[in-house]
């Protein structure tokens, strides 16, 4: 499947270096390439945080990004998407996020080096208290003025969007939620609405609320550091960058009509076919597997066995998989790689911790399974509207 998409993603004859780069980037826009690349980039950035945050390297990367954006903007299709009024904030968010991430990890790198040498932190100024008037009040005033100016300039340069009047019979294709929810809308590709639109947001909020009570590490309170809080920063940055920002970019910039993927330099063609046959775990277990191995008779179970309804038997393999993931895996992890975490936070906190982690990681797990095996549902009990 991946190669089909690679082949079809190129789009038309091309010549010259810039056309070649565009072809490659267009072809890399499918989620099964785009998301892994972004994940690897995130990992590389976190691992090498001491090197790339050096001002010169960071400035170079920043210039590279600006050059890439400007060069891309010469392409009419790319330009069309990024100058859509409601997409402009996304560019601003990307730049702002990159900037503050650099500021944070630069200071973390400096602090971590100082901690290793036993020197005081950037933030340790002993008792150097200053009066709020004038030191803070004036900083706030300057910020306020600058931000007001920025906001007014933004408002002058860019009109707020206004499309034709609402028409309940004319459904736009694609229909998109506001951009800050597009990560969740993107998840609709992989999950039913009750998970993508209800369960996962709920778990995000609960997870954030629970964070201070789950993170019992007393270090790194009130200063930038990465070394002293590796695990929790890894998890947060993975969720925030890969599962939130990257999916927003994917959903806003790369999803076109019929929720098909279009490369950043491709025109949105509403007539591109979207045919993909996804299969459930039950199909794999009861049909594909026996057909290949001849171990048992192929065919989905249709008869109840005693009090057990047929759909439970049909979904038993998927239920077993999910059961293993939600209930057995945490036990295994608690006695292996999460042994220290379990010891530190105790049983109840560990249960909450795993509930949140498991729902966070079911997203990439299911994405990968979809890309590799066209998996549709682990469990599909349509009788209960219960598809996972």
């Amino acid at each position: 499947m991946m190669f089909d998409m690679l082949a079809s993603g190129g789009g038309g004859p091309s010549s010259g270096l810039s056309a070649m780069i565009k072809d490659v980037l267009n072809a890399s826009s499918v989620p099964e390439i785009f998301v892994p690349i972004m994940t690897v980039l995130t990992i590389v950035f976190l691992v090498t945080y001491r090197s790339w945050t050096k001002p010169k390297v960071a400035a170079g990367l920043g210039l590279l990004f600006v050059a890439f954006y400007l060069w891309s903007a010469t392409d009419p299709n790319f330009l069309k998407i990024i100058v859509k009024p409601d997409n402009v904030p996304i560019t601003i968010m990307l730049v702002a996020t990159a900037l503050v991430t650099w500021v944070a990890f630069r200071q973390a790198a400096i602090n971590d080096a100082r901690l290793e040498r036993g020197e005081p932190l950037i933030e340790s100024g002993a008792d150097d208290k200053v009066l709020v008037w004038p030191d803070l009040v004036y900083t706030e005033l300057i910020c306020l003025v600058l931000c007001s100016v920025a906001l007014v300039v933004w408002a002058i340069l860019l009109k707020a969007p206004l499309e034709p009047p609402a028409n309940p019979t004319n459904i736009p294709n694609p229909s998109k939620a506001p951009w800050y929810f597009l990560g969740l809308q993107e998840l609709l590709v992989y999950f039913d609405p009750w998970i993508a639109g209800v369960l996962l947001p709920t778990f995000i909020v609960i997870g954030l609320l629970a964070l201070p009570y789950l993170d019992k590490n007393p270090l790194g309170n009130g200063y930038y550091t990465f070394k002293q809080r590796k695990f929790v920063i890894w998890m947060y940055m993975f969720g925030w960058v890969v599962l939130w920002i990257v999916l927003i970019v994917l959903g806003t910039f790369l999803r076109g009509p019929n929720w098909n993927i279009f490369g950043p330099y491709e025109a949105w063609d509403p007539h591109r076919p979207a045919a993909l046959l996804n299969i459930n775990v039950s199909d794999v277990f009861w049909v594909v597997l026996p057909e290949k191995t001849g171990l048992w008779k192929p065919g989905l179970p249709t008869d109840d066995i005693g009090p057990i309804p047929a759909y439970l038997i049909r979904e038993a393999p998927g239920l077993a998989l999910l059961g293993g993931y939600f209930f057995v895996l945490p036990v295994v992890l608690a006695s292996t790689i999460f042994r220290k975490i379990y010891r530190d936070i105790g049983f109840i906190r560990y249960v909450i911790f795993w509930t949140i982690m498991s729902w966070m990681f079911i997203v990439p797990v299911k994405m990968v399974l979809r890309w590799l095996f066209n998996l549709k549902y682990f469990v599909s009990i349509t009788e209960w509207f219960l598809n996972i």
Partner: protein, 261 residues
């Protein structure tokens, strides 16, 4: 002394001036402390703060910026309320009028871009608080208040998205609110909803589920517009205001801007 100096002296020594400002011009420690203490707005601050805590590279000013944008949204929002009627027949026309009748009108632009900026600012504020470990004791509770404020900010932006009543608005809200249809137990297409029955009568149907509560209807229509308007202009801002008060109060009570212990 110059004429201006005399006039200035006359003003600052008048009874009116003295009744407004209870202290002299903030030039020394005492009057500077008084300037903060005797002003209802400034006294959100302590009198003195740790120097390293107010560096721009530490806070990025993002929390303050979020608050500033909230104020900007409130002011422009109240002004917009003079011109906008949350009725299907008028809503779109009112937005058109704002655009065509007001020369150099920027109200709606500032309101819309301010809203987007507020979403970005609050995300980055949370990122900063996370990366400095400032949610750790004793600030766990205030982090929670902040998380709720984040959710409310997104809801504010989401409810406001519908008000122009254009194609962008109703379909974005349709996509978003369709999720509520699938809420477990509480949405008529959610898992478990069909367990809620009295005899053969389902309790959860399109006219009684979570989406119906949100939209006051089974699709995004006139009732939804009014409901989102009230949520956007009154209900959520009031809750946000209360929580902002708690949030700011707790910053002080939890020891001010965080720093190494």
């Amino acid at each position: 002394m110059s004429v201006f100096g005399n006039i200035g002296k006359y003003i600052t020594e008048s009874q009116v001036w003295g009744s407004v400002f209870r202290h002299g011009i903030p030039r020394d420690r005492r009057t500077r402390a008084m300037a903060v203490l005797s002003n209802v707005f400034l006294h959100l601050h302590p009198v003195a703060v740790r120097k390293s805590g107010i560096r721009l590279s530490f806070t990025w000013c993002m929390g303050g910026l979020t608050f500033f944008l909230f104020l900007a949204e409130t002011i422009t929002g109240v002004l917009l309320m003079f011109y906008y009627r949350p009725v299907v027949e008028y809503a779109y026309g009112d937005i058109i009028s704002l655009r065509s009748h007001v020369t150099l009108g920027l109200l709606r632009e500032i309101h819309r871009w301010g809203a987007h900026a507020m979403v970005i600012a609050i995300w980055l504020h949370m990122l900063r608080v996370f990366l400095t470990g400032s949610y750790k004791p004793p600030r766990e509770f205030n982090w929670g208040v902040g998380v709720i404020l984040l959710v409310l900010t997104l809801l504010l932006s989401f409810t406001g998205y519908l008000l122009p009543w254009d194609q962008l608005a109703i379909w974005a809200i349709t996509v978003g609110s369709n999720m509520a249809r699938a809420t477990p137990f509480l949405g008529h297409e959610g898992p478990g909803a069909q367990l809620l029955m009295i005899g053969d009568v389902p309790l959860m149907h399109a006219g009684s589920d979570a989406r119906f509560l949100l939209l006051a209807g089974t699709s995004v229509g006139p009732n939804a517009l009014l409901r989102f308007y009230v949520l956007h202009c009154i209900f959520i801002p009031l809750v946000v205001l209360v929580l902002i008060a708690v949030h700011f109060w707790r910053i002080r009570k939890d020891g001010g801007i965080s720093g190494p212990l």
